[in-house]
């Protein structure tokens, strides 16, 4: 057995190893959390079930399935990250890890890796279930590429907004507000309900929301279309979110 030796021999592991280790740890913690699982899978699966067995009252799978994929990205990119980060800040996790070789940038990179892994897992499960329930998308290479680009921009935007919120407010306030924003934009943010179904006076406002941009692009992609405006909307939001997170984030409670 190796012997304990307290003589100093400090050296950081390679950056890739550090970021992967952090990503793996956050991923495990996210998927073990029951509340996160509710947001990530149970609610989206429930909406898919309503689409399949609701007799058309809640919309068809052609609209609901891509909308649910958008919802999954929204819940994991924004709500889960905001709540988890708020408590990491409160519990001193961020303070401790910022003082390790992981550092602030490694912590953010690892966190992003964990979110991407969760989102990919969600999309695979939800898309497979939707297909089993009868969803038959008709994407083209271009529409898939546009959807992928918008999904990446959306994850970056949502994580940035989540960090801006969690880095500023108390953990309990973040928990409440992140859930409230989740529900408000789920219903009124063009995420699950297409923008065209909102009152005409509201449509120009809803179209500027990042959730609406994501929902519209994924629904269009399933029909083989690629839209340009969601890319522009999300690019603007990504810059805004990054600036807000950079300016407002505090590592300590």
């Amino acid at each position: 057995m190796s012997v304990l030796d307290f003589s100093p021999a400090p050296d950081a592991a390679p950056a890739r190893q550090r970021v992967l280790a952090h990503g793996r740890t956050e991923f495990r913690l996210l998927v073990r959390n029951g509340e996160q699982l509710l947001l990530a899978l149970v609610i989206p699966l429930g909406i898919l079930g309503l689409g399949r067995f609701g007799g058309g009252r809640f919309g068809t799978l052609a609209v609901l399935a891509p909308s649910v994929l958008a919802l999954a990205i929204w819940s994991s990119g924004f709500t889960s990250v905001a709540i988890a980060t708020g408590f990491e800040r409160r519990y001193g996790v961020l303070e401790r890890l910022a003082a390790t070789p992981l550092g602030k940038s490694g912590l953010l990179a690892g966190k992003m890796l964990a979110v991407v892994a969760v989102v990919v897992g969600q999309l695979v499960v939800l898309a497979a279930v939707a297909v089993v329930l009868g969803w038959r998308p008709h994407p083209t290479a271009l529409s898939l590429l546009a959807a992928l680009l918008v999904a990446v921009l959306a994850v970056g935007t949502f994580v940035g907004l989540a960090l801006a919120l969690a880095g500023r407010l108390r953990a309990e306030a973040t928990l409440g507000l992140a859930n409230l924003i989740y529900v408000v934009l789920l219903v009124g943010g063009g995420l699950v309900v297409p923008v065209g179904r909102y009152p005409s006076a509201l449509q120009p406002v809803v179209e500027t929301l990042p959730t609406a941009a994501l929902g519209a692009e994924l629904r269009a992609a399933a029909l083989g279309q690629a839209l340009a405006w969601p890319v522009l909307v999300l690019l603007v939001w990504l810059v805004v979110a990054a600036l807000l997170a950079r300016k407002g984030f505090r590592w300590t409670a």
Partner: protein, 239 residues
């Protein structure tokens, strides 16, 4: 107190204000390799802000901090420093063993994991989620986390708070071994007996300033205990 070079930690006339409140006021101290430096002060004296200046989480308004010759928070400094924060410092749902394996993976030459676990008595609760550990067990895990990267300089913020007397004495023994191995230790504590038993240098801080400093024999030369010296030089604050 003699100042030796090169010090592991140099805090030179550091001031930090939050709004109208001056938290650190031209605070100056040093910590040497192979020595335990105790920073004593009442609640609100600025000890936690001092540690945050040394880990790069708070940027001083004026003054200079040098951590092993590097800027606080820089990659070169972070790789060589161990931190045991005062607050919990871990995800509530992570298992103790999982946390330590993760922290070990951030370093190229971590302590042999199993040996450190046995030395600090962590094995019985390695599979317990952090939130279910007692306060003393959490402190032991945090201490292991601070030492796992074989640091040159460790910051220990109230390291024995919540520990039972056995665990406390065992921790003191670990700190003595660290010092003997050449590690620079910066310890913030309210426990006067801890400082008296362990410290090579003591800085008593109040209102963000060092109000008195010296070795324990120097500070207690007039026959006063360290606690009496502390009480004589610090003020009571409203809770």
């Amino acid at each position: 107190m003699n100042i030796r070079e090169p010090a592991a930690l140099v805090v030179d006339a550091v001031s930090v204000g939050f709004g109208d409140r001056l938290v650190l006021d031209t605070l100056t101290l040093q910590a040497q390799p192979a020595a335990l430096t105790a920073v004593l002060g009442p609640n609100g004296a600025g000890k936690t802000t001092l540690v945050r200046c040394c880990t790069g989480l708070v940027t001083p308004d004026s003054g200079r901090v040098s951590v092993l010759g590097h800027r606080p928070g820089s990659a070169a400094a972070a790789a060589r420093v161990g931190l045991m924060p005062q607050s919990t410092g871990a995800w509530s749902g992570i298992r103790a063993g999982e946390l330590l394996r993760y922290l070990a993976s951030l370093y190229a030459n971590p302590q042999p994991w199993s040996a450190l676990v046995d030395r600090l008595g962590l094995r019985p609760f390695l599979d317990t989620p952090y939130r279910r550990l007692s306060g003393g067990q959490q402190q032991s895990v945090n201490l292991a986390g601070a030492l796992i990267g074989r640091p040159e300089l460790v910051f220990l913020d109230e390291p024995t708070a919540g520990m039972d007397p056995h665990a406390r004495r065992a921790t003191w023994e670990v700190l003595r071994e660290l010092r003997a191995a050449g590690v620079a230790i910066v310890l913030t504590t309210h426990a006067m007996d801890e400082a008296e038993a362990l410290a090579d240098a003591v800085y008593i801080v109040d209102g963000g300033r060092v109000v008195v400093a010296g070795t324990v024999p120097e500070l207690t030369r007039g026959g006063s205990s360290l606690e009496e010296v502390f009480l004589a030089h610090t003020r009571v604050r409203a809770a």
